[in-house]
């Protein structure tokens, strides 16, 4: 897409390996092995199992906080490992998390004005 990209095409056929060699792909160097990804998936599956089983036992006041914590852990795990944010350039994290935190901020504030949390 970038005009600059075309410069590579001058010397190499489109799609030639050279076009990729230094184009910001460093995932080979860091990131997990396939086995590592499977382990992460198992971890996520276990957390999901815990979440579901929590709904069948009555643990009172701790129910909601534990569920929310599990949700956040799952979220962050997928973002960090499957989406490589943990290994990738910090700019990506900044872009994504600023959107996420902004969303949390404005929408929680809006729900507060509805007295949404007063009843809970």
């Amino acid at each position: 897409m970038s005009t600059a990209h075309a410069l590579a095409v001058d010397d190499a056929a489109p799609g030639d390996d050279a076009a990729h060699a230094d184009g910001g792909h460093h995932e080979h160097a860091h990131g997990l092995t396939d086995l590592g990804y499977v382990k992460v998936a198992i971890f996520l599956a276990v957390l999901t199992g815990m979440e579901v089983s929590l709904t069948y036992v009555h643990i009172g006041a701790f129910f909601m906080p534990i569920l929310l914590i599990l949700m956040v852990v799952k979220f962050v795990t997928v973002v960090s490992y499957f989406m490589h944010l943990k290994f990738d350039n910090k700019i990506f994290s900044w872009l994504f998390y600023s959107g996420l935190i902004l969303a949390l901020g404005v929408y929680l504030a809006a729900l507060c004005t509805f007295q949404f949390f007063a009843g809970n």
């Binding site: 600059a4 599990l70 949700m71 700019i91 969303a103 404005v106």
Partner: protein
């Protein structure tokens, strides 16, 4: 945004003058764009989730959420979507090893798992309608179907992109050629998954 993701797959962002760096930041244009899009999507789903949270208790004229929700079914479909994230990341990993055969396989499996999820959602929606909760029934119905429907549309768009990608890879002459597109669609797919992680907890597991 499908177009962005598929845009110029081979963009490596070369510059003739920048010493050692392809772009000012050294990062791929496509990947930056995708992460920005996902950041922006947080605000979209945030709005839909907030609308649901505000209205979930207003279910006059229909069964309550806890009467309707079929937790075992939704748990299984959630699990399926979660595992599709694994197969997606394996596809990305294969693509980066320039292993097109495995890339194609894992992409296909991902698409199938995604389709299973959407299928379960369609089944769930039909059940709800039978039990008396339509889109127009009440505020709970409108906001529930809008939120989960938006997510379902995202999954469907993802499936279309995955299938198109399988087609594109089969036509490409150079192994690993489309690694960046695979990664891009992977990011989108994982995002759809994490949105579901939130929806699953906030909508299904926490009763109103």
């Amino acid at each position: 945004m499908a177009d962005t993701a598929l845009d110029s797959p081979a963009t490596a962002g070369h510059d003739d003058h920048a010493a050692g760096h392809a772009t000012s930041t050294g990062l791929s244009n496509n990947k930056l764009a995708m992460w920005m899009f996902l950041g922006s999507e947080c605000l979209l789903f945030g709005g839909l989730i907030s609308t649901y949270m505000l209205y979930r208790g207003r279910h006059e004229g229909s069964p309550t959420p806890s009467q309707l929700y079929n937790i075992p079914l939704t748990s299984i479909s959630s699990f399926v979507l979660l595992m599709s994230s694994l197969t997606m990341v394996l596809a990305v990993s294969a693509a980066q090893r320039r292993d097109d055969r495995n890339t194609t396989t894992w992409l296909t499996v991902t698409a199938l798992l995604g389709a299973t999820f959407v299928g379960a959602q369609v089944f769930e929606f039909t059940e709800f309608v039978h039990e008396g909760l339509g889109f127009t029934t009440n505020l709970f119905g409108s906001s529930f179907f809008t939120l989960t429907g938006f997510h379902g549309v995202h999954v469907t768009v993802g499936i279309i992109m995955l299938m198109a990608l399988v087609g594109i890879i089969s036509r490409s002459k150079f192994p690993g050629d489309k690694a960046e597109v695979v990664e891009m669609i992977g990011l989108y797919w994982h995002f759809v998954d994490i949105v579901w992680i939130i929806i699953f907890t906030l909508v299904y597991l926490i009763p109103s």
